[in-house]
Structure formats: structure tokens, C-alpha cells
């Protein structure tokens, strides 16, 4: 994991500028993503970490333009990918990018594969559409892809239906499908959450290997800070639709600045802890996204809060020259009380 690559001048592959996504519901406007800005370089592996409802999936779906409108609405922002603003593209043009330049792997492999078509058919479909291949050629390529993701007897397996695959194999097939058009960016939205630990280890291993071989950028969305520690270069920590901390992987784990990130790390038991160690839990619940607090979104649960945090919202500011960013009024004070 060479962190110097990240510092070098490079034209970013993906540039998100003040993205806001909302949903209009009966209860009011749900502010799912509240103005996030960041860049992603080609070949970079980015971890997006946060709990349910923090906007991590919605922001990924916004990039893919898969937000249903209505009730959803991308209220503000720009998403520059390869020199074009994805939000300004016509439906036809975005369809050419989606699945070809940006591919996505979803959480539940059973519900994201179509049960009435064979796995082979579903991979071939993408190849014919995006690469203008003929059926025979596409089947060859599909078999190669299944072999690439480690499915034994790939050629035979093309004619299997999704229900004939196990959970881990379905996720492998999903990855094969996502890789079919050599994407520049692969978005993996909690791809291992539905899988068992040993199968999860297989899938993580596979994605790391494929990323190194094929050199695409990978965005790995997860709620588990443990999973991404060994595979990503950079991490965005999200809370209530905001990025609250962002930095290189070592800075996030070793030089944690935001109280929320500290709380998340404290909530995880470490495998070599002493007996009787207490977990540091974060008290309370995430805020209601319909009526966001005026100040810091983490105010209600923060152990270090002060009056200022209640009324003024901290913006994401530079903590050092390595691109470590944090949105907290008190990050400079190096707060450690109550944290492992």
C-alpha cells in the first residue's frame, strides 16, 4: 500500500463537488447526503465507512444516477467523472457510462441477480450491450471472467441459474459481471455483509487481487472499520450525510481526530484485548435526517461537545499536509478522554 502514490499530482478520476441528495417523503424532506466534496484518483482504493442511514449508499447511487426521481432528488452539486459532469448527462449518455466505466456490486447477491436467467446470459447481456460483442465471443469472455473470479468449471457454470450458486459464488458472479467491461471505477456497496466470515475473507482477497491486476479504482462501502483496514488507501468516514473525517488509512486508524471515528473504533472489540475490557460505546442514536441539527450533526452523542458545537456546524478542514481532513471544532485539542 504505497501512500506516496496518493500525494503525486494526478488528474482525479472522480471529483465530487458539494453533492446534496434528498428524498421527499410524507414526513418531510429527508436530507440523506448533505454537501460532500472529495476527489478519487485512478487506481485508488477508497473506503467509505459509516452506520446505516449515514448516506454512504445514497451517495454511491447518486454517482451512478440510480436515485429514483421522485421521491429522490439530487438537489445540488457536481460529479465529474473523466471530464464530464455525470449529473448533466442525458439518460442515454449515463446509460453508456453506467455498467461500463463505473460498475457496481451490491450487498445482496441473491436479489441483484435475475433468478429467471442463467448467470451466463446476464454477463453476456452486458458485454453485448456495451462492447458490441457477438453472442459467441461474449460467451467466451464471460467464461474467462468467471474463471478470473475463481469459479471452478467456469464454462459449465455459465448455464447455471443463480439459485444453483452459493452465496459466495453469487457474489463472485456479480463481481465478474461488474468487471466485464473493464470499468475504471468499481463501487462495492457492502459486498460481504450477507456472507459468512470465511467467505468474506475470500471475496476481500479476490477484490484486492483483481484491483492490483487490473488497476481500476475501487470504492468499498462498509459499516465495518475492520474490513477496510487492510485493503484501502483512503477512508471517508460519514455521519448523517456529511463526511466527518477523511484521510489516508494509517492516519484514520492511528491518528484518529473525529470523536465519531474514535467512538466507532472503540466499539469494536480487538482480538487481542485483555479480559474484562469494556467496549466504548457511542451513547444515543443518529439524528433524524428530516430535521438535521443546526450545529454539528454529532453534537447529541459527542462526549467532547461544547456550546459552540450546538449552534455552528464545523466544516471539513485540513488537519495536516497529507490530506487528513476533519470536521470538528475541537480536533486540535487531541481529545482522548474515554477512548481506548
Amino acid at each position: 500500500m504505497d501512500e506516496h502514490i496518493q500525494v503525486r499530482d494526478m488528474k482525479p478520476l472522480l471529483k465530487i463537488n458539494d453533492l446534496k441528495t434528498q428524498f421527499h417523503t410524507e414526513d418531510g424532506i429527508v436530507n440523506a447526503v448533505n454537501g460532500i466534496t472529495y476527489d478519487m484518483n485512478p487506481g485508488e482504493v477508497l473506503g467509505v465507512v459509516g452506520e446505516s442511514g449515514c448516506g454512504k449508499s445514497v451517495h454511491a447511487l447518486s454517482i451512478m444516477r440510480l436515485i429514483q426521481i421522485p421521491p429522490g432528488e439530487i438537489a445540488n452539486g457536481e460529479i465529474w467523472f473523466n471530464g464530464q459532469d455525470l449529473l448533466k448527462l442525458s439518460d442515454n449518455d449515463i446509460r453508456k457510462i453506467r455498467g461500463r466505466d463505473i460498475a457496481m456490486v451490491f450487498q445482496d447477491p441473491m436479489s441483484s441477480l435475475n433468478p429467471v436467467y442463467t448467470v451466463g446470459f446476464q454477463i453476456v447481456e452486458a458485454l453485448k450491450l456495451h462492447k458490441n460483442m457477438r453472442t459467441k465471443e461474449a460467451r467466451e469472455k464471460a467464461a474467462d471472467l468467471l474463471a478470473l473470479v475463481g469459479i471452478p468449471e467456469a464454462r459449465k457454470r455459465l448455464d447455471n441459474y443463480p439459485h444453483q450458486f452459493s452465496g459466495g459464488m453469487r457474489q463472485r458472479a456479480m463481481i465478474a459481471m461488474a468487471l466485464s467491461c473493464d470499468p475504471k471505477l468499481l463501487i462495492a456497496d457492502e459486498p460481504t455483509t450477507a456472507l459468512d466470515v470465511t467467505i468474506q475473507a475470500q471475496i476481500i482477497d479476490l477484490v484486492i487481487k483483481l484491483q492490483e491486476e487490473l488497476g481500476m479504482a475501487v470504492m468499498w462501502i462498509t459499516h465495518d472499520l475492520g474490513i477496510v483496514a487492510e485493503m484501502v488507501h483512503k477512508i471517508n468516514v460519514m455521519y448523517a450525510g456529511f463526511i466527518v473525517e477523511r484521510g489516508n488509512v494509517r492516519d484514520i486508524y492511528k491518528g484518529t481526530l473525529h470523536p465519531y471515528t474514535k467512538g466507532l473504533l472503540g466499539s469494536l472489540p480487538s482480538i487481542d484485548e485483555a479480559p474484562g475490557t469494556k467496549l466504548i460505546s457511542i451513547p444515543g442514536l443518529p439524528p433524524d435526517l428530516v430535521c438535521l441539527p443546526k450545529g454539528c450533526p454529532f453534537y447529541a452523542r459527542c462526549v467532547y461537545r461544547e456550546d459552540r458545537c450546538k449552534y455552528e456546524r464545523p466544516s471539513l478542514e485540513k488537519a495536516d499536509s497529507n490530506g487528513h481532513l476533519v470536521a470538528c471544532w475541537r480536533w486540535k485539542e487531541n481529545l482522548t478522554e474515554g477512548v481506548k
Binding site: G167, E230, I271, K278
Partner: protein, 328 residues
């Protein structure tokens, strides 16, 4: 915590097979799913026994069979030296007062049409003769024990978040002052920060009320955190059982080693230093387990003997049990 007296639950050669029938009119019994196949262990008073394994390994079935929610196919379950397998329905219902369960899904395990108050007092209706006022008082006490506002009695489950619902589930389990609480993946559907809240609550309650837990989960690091001893199951059988530190420091079974190495470590330095054992393939179907050792299809150490005979489940010293031809 040693000696015969301190054992609360003793499970001896427990088997639970689910029959598979075929045919429309005359259902023929064709084979069995061996969900739990010859499992023996004990749970000591006041301890937490962690039970880990992957999907389909039978860990939930073990928990439910102890409570007699499933009737065991064979084997014995001794609870405080009373054999549960010999009890009639009424006697069993009385015994259940001493053993309660916390379920995995806090959305599915609370009746949406009942208020939190009536959910928590349901076990009191069945097992006690308290009057209305006493019940109300007990419910409020329970709510405050699990960290909920006692004014929530008349609210419905949909008004609560996942973590709060799980607290309601815990309050319900504690209503009748049980000795044993079987926690069936109580935190796996919760967010990380909420998981820590619930685990801390469970530990605090154990200290306060002297509870004994059987903690079933697939998350090895959380099980290690909460348990005194750990059982590792695979395809209906126990692979290894030992004290939590022992099983972590000297895992003897190759499956335990692989499981431990697959646990995500939230530290980039440690994570890159450790050696990962990536198991190949998937878990075989329990309908059709492999011959010999159950783990032989994925085991990196498997040799001839593993395909021929099933390894015995033996004590290798200091109460460390393992079932492997190549252990030690």
C-alpha cells in the same frame, strides 16, 4: 467456578435431525438434515459460553433445542441436574421460567400490535400470579434496568430503533428472573456503535443479576469479548472448545485457525502483518455431509485418514477439547 455443583447446563450427545420427506400423497422419509450431530458440552453457572460458527452449522438449533423449542432426536439435556428430555409439557413450561431467549431480529421478535408494556409483561402473565399493579411496577423496573425510559410502557415497537427494540427483547427475557439466557445473535442486525451498547448492557446485567449466557454468534471478535469459554461448530459438530484466551492463543483445529484469521482487524499495521488463511470452497450442505471429518473438503491439512474416519472429540488437557486427526 469448579466442581459438579457449579454446572448449570449439561448437554450430552445431543442430536437433532430434521427429516426430509418426499412424495405428495405418501410422504416417504428419505433422509435427515443433521443439524446437530452428537454434541456435548457444559455451561457453568455465571459464565458466558460463546457458540460460534457459520451459517448452517447448527448453532441456533443447539440453543433452541436446549430450550426444548425443538425436541431433540436423541441425547440428554440436564438443567440443574434435571433431565429436560424426560419432562412433560407442563413441567417443561415451568422450567422455561428459568431459561429465556433473546432473538436475533428485534423487528420480527416483537409483536407490532402489542405495546412494549404488554410485551414485557407477557412472561409475567404466564409464569407469575402478580396483580396488575405489581406487573406494571415490574415492567417499569425492567425498562429502567435495560436503560429505557420507564414512561415508554404504552409505546409500540415501531416507535423504537433497532437497538432500543433489542433492549425491549432483553427486558422481556429478564422478566421472570431466569438463570440462563440464550442470546441468539442478539447484535448481528445492529449498527456497530449500537452493538457495543447492547454488549455492554448484557455484561452489566450479568454482573448485577448473576446470569448465565449462551451467546450464539458468527462474529468471532465479539464472542471472544463477551465469553469465558468458546465452542466452535461446523456442520452440526463441535470442532473445538476451550477457554477464550486458550482458543485464541493456541487454536488447535484448522477451522478455528481459519476463522480467527478471517476476523477483520481494525488496525492497518496488525492487519498487514498477520497471516491470512483463506479457506477454499463453500460449506457443504448438511443434507449431504462429507464422509470422515466434516471439514475435510476445505481443510488445508486433510490427509487420507480424514476422508476415512471421523476424528474423535477429545480432551487435550486443561479442558481444551478438539476433534481433529492432526491436532496437537
Amino acid at each position: 467456578m469448579s466442581g459438579e455443583n457449579s454446572v448449570l447446563v449439561q448437554v450430552k450427545n445431543l442430536k437433532k435431525y430434521f427429516p426430509v420427506n418426499q412424495g405428495i400423497l405418501f410422504k416417504r422419509h428419505v433422509k435427515d438434515v443433521k443439524a446437530v450431530d452428537d454434541v456435548s458440552f457444559t455451561i457453568k453457572k455465571g459464565e458466558t459460553l460463546g457458540l460460534v460458527g457459520e451459517t448452517g452449522c447448527g448453532k441456533t438449533t443447539v440453543g433452541r433445542t436446549i430450550l426444548h423449542l425443538y425436541k431433540p432426536t436423541s441425547g440428554q439435556i440436564l438443567f440443574d441436574n434435571i433431565d429436560l428430555t424426560g419432562l412433560g409439557e407442563n413441567e417443561m413450561r415451568r422450567m422455561r421460567q428459568r431459561m429465556q431467549m433473546i432473538f436475533q431480529d428485534p423487528y420480527a421478535s416483537l409483536n407490532p400490535r402489542m405495546t412494549v408494556g404488554s410485551i414485557i409483561s407477557a412472561p409475567l402473565d404466564v409464569h407469575t400470579k402478580l396483580n396488575k399493579a405489581q406487573k406494571r411496577e415490574r415492567v417499569q423496573e425492567l425498562l429502567s434496568i435495560v436503560g429505557l425510559n420507564s414512561g415508554f410502557v404504552n409505546r409500540y415497537p415501531h416507535e423504537f430503533s433497532g437497538g432500543q427494540r433489542q433492549r425491549v427483547g432483553i427486558a422481556r427475557a429478564l422478566a421472570v428472573n431466569p438463570d440462563l439466557v440464550i442470546c441468539d445473535e442478539p447484535i448481528s442486525s445492529l449498527d456497530v456503535s449500537i452493538q457495543a451498547q447492547v454488549v455492554n448492557l448484557l455484561e452489566e446485567l450479568q454482573d448485577r443479576l448473576g446470569l448465565t449466557y449462551l451467546f450464539v454468534a458468527h462474529d468471532l471478535s465479539m464472542v471472544r469479548h463477551i465469553s469465558n469459554r468458546m465452542v466452535v461448530m461446523y456442520l452440526g459438530k463441535i470442532m473445538e472448545l476451550a477457554d477464550r484466551d486458550e482458543i485464541y492463543q493456541i487454536p488447535l483445529h484448522p477451522y478455528t485457525r481459519a476463522l480467527l484469521s478471517a476476523v477483520p482487524i481494525p488496525d492497518p499495521d496488525k492487519a498487514s502483518r498477520r497471516e491470512r488463511i483463506i479457506l477454499e470452497g463453500d460449506i457443504p450442505s448438511p443434507l449431504n455431509p462429507p464422509k470422515g471429518c466434516n471439514f475435510n473438503t476445505r481443510c488445508p491439512l486433510a490427509t487420507e485418514i480424514c476422508f476415512q474416519s471421523e476424528p474423535a472429540y477429545v480432551d487435550v488437557g486443561s479442558n481444551h477439547f478438539v476433534a481433529c486427526h492432526h491436532a496437537g
